[in-house]
C-alpha cells in the first residue's frame, strides 16, 4: 500500500496527464455543445503538454539558465520538452481560434451552439 502510494506520488504528473487526456478526448468526441467541445480539445492538448513538460523535469535541478557560473549540464533540466510545449501551445491556440470562429459563424446563423440542433436546422433548410 505504502509502495503504491509512493509510486503515485512519483508519477503524479503522468497519471494526471493521462486522466486529463481521457477527459479531453471524450469531450472532443462526444460533447454536443460546440464550445464545450473546444474546451475538451484544449484540455486534451494541455494534458499532452503537462506530460511532455513533466518528462523534461528532473527532481532537484534548476531551469537551464546559466546562474552562478555552473556550466555542468547535470545541474539543469532538459530544455527541449519545454521548447516543444511552446510550439505545441502555439499550434493549439491557432486551432482553437479557427474553431471558435467557425462556431461563431454558425451561432450567428442559427442562434445555437448545440451541434445536433444545427444539423437538424441545416437539414430542414436543405429540404
Amino acid at each position: 500500500m505504502r509502495e503504491l502510494f509512493q509510486k503515485i506520488v512519483i508519477y503524479r504528473f503522468e497519471i494526471g496527464a493521462i486522466i486529463l487526456f481521457g477527459i479531453g478526448f471524450m469531450n472532443l468526441l462526444l460533447q454536443k455543445n460546440l464550445v464545450k467541445k473546444i474546451i475538451g480539445f484544449n484540455v486534451m492538448d494541455s494534458s499532452v503538454f503537462l506530460f511532455l513538460a513533466s518528462q523534461g523535469y528532473i527532481e532537484g535541478r534548476i531551469a537551464p539558465v546559466l546562474t552562478n557560473g555552473v556550466t555542468s549540464a547535470s545541474a539543469y533540466i532538459n530544455p527541449i520538452p519545454a521548447g516543444l510545449v511552446l510550439t505545441g501551445i502555439v499550434v493549439s491556440v491557432s486551432v482553437s481560434a479557427f474553431f471558435l470562429a467557425l462556431v461563431q459563424r454558425l451561432y450567428l446563423k442559427y442562434g445555437t451552439v448545440e451541434f445536433d440542433e444545427i444539423m437538424l436546422l441545416a437539414k430542414k433548410e436543405a429540404e
Binding site: F21, G24, F25, L28, L29, L34, K37, F41, M44, D45, V48, F51, L52, Q55, I80, P81, L84, T87, G88, V91, S94, V95, F98, F99, L102, V103, R105, L106, K109, Y110, F115, I118, M119, L121, A122, E125, A126
Partner: protein, 499 residues
C-alpha cells in the same frame, strides 16, 4: 559547398509559404489566383528537376536547416520518391486550381478569394513539408497546418452546410492529430530524439535489447490510429463525404486527391525509416491495416452506390480508393508497398480529373448536383463528358488506364503472401464490380439526353480544358507506361529504409 540541387526542397516549401503570406495584398482575386497557380507550377518544375537529378544518381540526402548539426538541428531529407511525390502534389494543385477557376468565381465571394488562395498555398507548403521533413515534431506542426488549411478550403463556400461539415471534419482531424501528438511525445520520451535517423538508431537498439517493447507497440499503435483517422480509413470515414462533397470543385479535387495522401506518405516514411518494416510486420500492424483496408474498399463502394449527389458519390469512392492503398500496405511485402504507392499516384490524378469534370458538368446544367438532373450534361459539354468517362473507366480498372495498373500490381503483390492471397483477390474483384455498379450508370446517365439540358450552347472553358486534358494524359500515361514510376518508387523506398 552544397550541391545546388540540395537547396530545391527548401526553396519549394519556402516559395509556397511566402506566396501564401502575400496573398491578402492582392486587391483583385485574379492576381492572387494567377500568382498561386504560377507558384504551384514553378514548384512542380523544380520538383521535376530534383526528381531527374536524384533518380539519375540514385541519391538521398539530408539538408540541415539553420546549420545546427544532427542531434540538435532540424533537417529535411529528399530522395527520388519524395521528389516525385512533391511533383505530384504541386502539379495536381496547379491543375485543380486552374480547372476549377470558374467554380471558384461562382462559389466564393470575390473579396474572400485572396484568403482562399492563402490557404491553398499553405496547404501545398504543408504537404511538401510532410513529404520532405526529417523531424517528427516538425511533421506534427505541419499536420496541424494542413488540418487548418484543409478545413478552411472546405468552408470557403461559406454556406451553413459547409461550415457544419467543416466542424465535423475539424473535430475528427483534431482527434487524429491529438493521438499522433501523444504518440510522438511517448516516442521522444523513450528514445530522447526527434530526428528520424537518430530515432531509427535508438529504436533499433531498443528492439535488439527487447527493452520498452510495450511502449513501442503503443507508440506505433497511436501514430497509426491518428493517421488512419485523418485519412479516412474504414471506420473513420463518416466526415469525408460531407466535407469533400460540399466544397468548391478545386477544394474537393485537392482534398480527395492529395490531402489524404500526405498523411499516408508520412506514415510510410515513419514505418520505413524509424520503426523499420520488419518490426511493423512482427507487431501485426500490417494485418490490422489489411483488414480495415478491405472493409473500407467494400463499405465505401456500397455507400457510393446509394448516393445520388455526384460529388458525394465521388467522395465515397475516395474512401474505397484509400482502402486499396491500405490493402497494399497491409500485405506487408515490398511488392505490396510499391503497389500502394502506385495506387496513391493513380488516385491522385484520377480523382481530381473526376471532380473537375463533375464540377464542369454541373456548371453547364445550372449548378445541379444530383445525377438525375445532370442527365445529358455530357452532351452539352463533350470534353467534360469524355474526361469523366476516362476517370470512371480508370476507377473501374479497364486496361490502358491508370486504375488497371494499380489493381494489377495489388493483385500481383498479393501472390507473395499466401495467407492474405484469397481475401485480397476476392476484395479486389468485388470492389471492381462494385465500382462498375455505380460508375457505369453515372456515365450512361450523363450521356443520355434529357429535359434538363441547357437550351443555349455553353461557352467553352479553356482553363478547364487545359487542366482536364493534362490530368487525363496523366491517367492514361500511368496506365500505359507505369514502369518508370514503379522504378522510382522501388528505388525511393529502398533508400528510405537504408538511411
Amino acid at each position: 559547398m552544397l550541391p545546388w540541387y540540395q537547396n530545391l526542397p527548401f526553396i519549394c516549401i519556402f516559395l509556397c509559404m511566402v506566396n501564401g503570406i502575400t496573398m491578402p495584398l492582392y486587391r483583385r482575386a485574379r492576381g492572387a489566383y494567377r500568382a498561386t497557380v504560377t507558384v504551384a507550377a514553378v514548384v512542380a518544375v523544380l520538383s521535376g528537376v530534383l526528381l531527374a537529378v536524384l533518380s539519375a544518381g540514385n541519391i538521398r540526402f539530408s539538408y540541415k536547416m539553420g546549420h545546427f548539426p544532427a542531434p540538435w538541428g532540424n533537417e529535411i531529407a529528399a530522395g527520388p520518391l519524395e521528389a516525385m511525390l512533391a511533383l505530384m502534389f504541386s502539379l495536381v494543385t496547379a491543375l485543380s486550381l486552374l480547372g476549377g477557376r470558374s467554380a471558384q468565381e461562382h462559389d466564393i465571394l470575390e473579396p474572400k478569394q485572396p484568403y482562399y488562395f492563402v490557404m491553398m498555398n499553405l496547404l501545398l507548403a504543408a504537404l511538401l513539408a510532410l513529404t520532405y521533413t526529417n523531424d517528427i515534431f516538425t511533421a506534427y506542426v505541419f499536420i496541424e497546418i494542413s488540418t487548418i488549411a484543409a478545413c478552411a478550403i472546405v468552408m470557403a463556400r461559406d454556406t451553413a452546410k459547409t461550415i457544419a461539415a467543416t466542424i465535423r471534419y475539424l473535430v475528427i482531424s483534431l482527434l487524429g492529430s491529438g493521438l499522433f501528438l501523444i504518440g510522438i511525445v511517448l516516442l521522444y520520451c523513450i528514445t530522447g530524439h526527434l530526428l528520424i535517423p537518430q530515432l531509427a538508431e535508438k529504436v533499433a537498439e531498443l528492439v535488439a535489447t527487447g527493452a520498452y517493447t510495450l511502449p513501442l507497440t503503443v507508440v506505433v499503435g497511436l501514430i497509426t490510429l491518428g493517421v488512419a483517422i485523418k485519412c479516412a480509413l474504414f471506420p473513420f470515414y463518416a466526415w469525408l463525404p460531407l466535407a469533400h462533397g460540399g466544397a468548391t470543385t478545386s477544394s474537393s479535387a485537392i482534398l480527395s486527391g492529395l490531402v489524404l495522401k500526405g498523411y499516408i506518405v508520412l506514415l510510410v516514411k515513419l514505418y520505413y525509416s524509424v520503426f523499420t518494416i520488419a518490426v511493423i510486420r512482427s507487431l501485426e500492424i500490417t494485418s490490422v491495416l489489411f483488414v480495415f483496408g478491405v472493409a473500407g474498399m467494400i463499405a465505401g463502394s456500397l455507400h457510393a452506390i446509394r448516393e445520388e449527389h455526384i460529388k458525394r458519390m465521388l467522395a465515397y469512392s475516395s474512401v474505397a480508393q484509400i482502402g486499396y492503398v491500405f490493402l497494399g500496405m497491409g500485405l506487408g511485402t515490398d511488392a505490396g508497398m510499391y503497389a500502394a504507392f502506385l495506387q496513391i499516384f493513380v488516385h491522385a490524378v484520377t480523382k481530381p480529373l473526376l471532380f473537375l469534370c463533375a464540377g464542369r458538368l454541373s456548371e453547364v446544367q445550372g449548378h445541379e448536383k444530383s445525377l438525375y438532373r445532370l442527365r445529358g450534361a455530357a452532351l452539352t459539354d463533350k470534353a467534360a463528358g469524355i474526361g469523366f468517362t476516362i476517370g470512371a473507366l480508370s476507377m473501374i480498372g479497364i486496361p490502358m488506364f491508370g486504375g488497371f495498373m494499380s489493381k494489377w500490381m495489388l493483385a500481383d503483390a498479393s501472390l507473395y503472401n499466401p495467407l492474405k492471397l484469397w481475401p485480397a483477390l476476392i476484395a479486389l474483384a468485388a470492389s471492381s464490380v462494385l465500382n462498375a455498379v455505380y460508375y457505369v450508370p453515372a456515365v450512361i446517365a450523363l450521356w443520355t439526353p434529357s429535359g434538363y439540358m441547357a437550351t443555349q450552347p455553353v461557352r467553352p472553358d479553356r482553363r478547364f480544358l487545359i487542366a482536364s486534358a493534362a490530368l487525363a494524359v496523366c491517367v492514361i500515361g500511368l496506365g500505359v507506361m507505369s514502369t518508370p514510376v514503379l522504378g522510382v518508387i522501388e528505388r525511393g523506398l529502398a533508400l528510405l529504409g537504408g538511411i
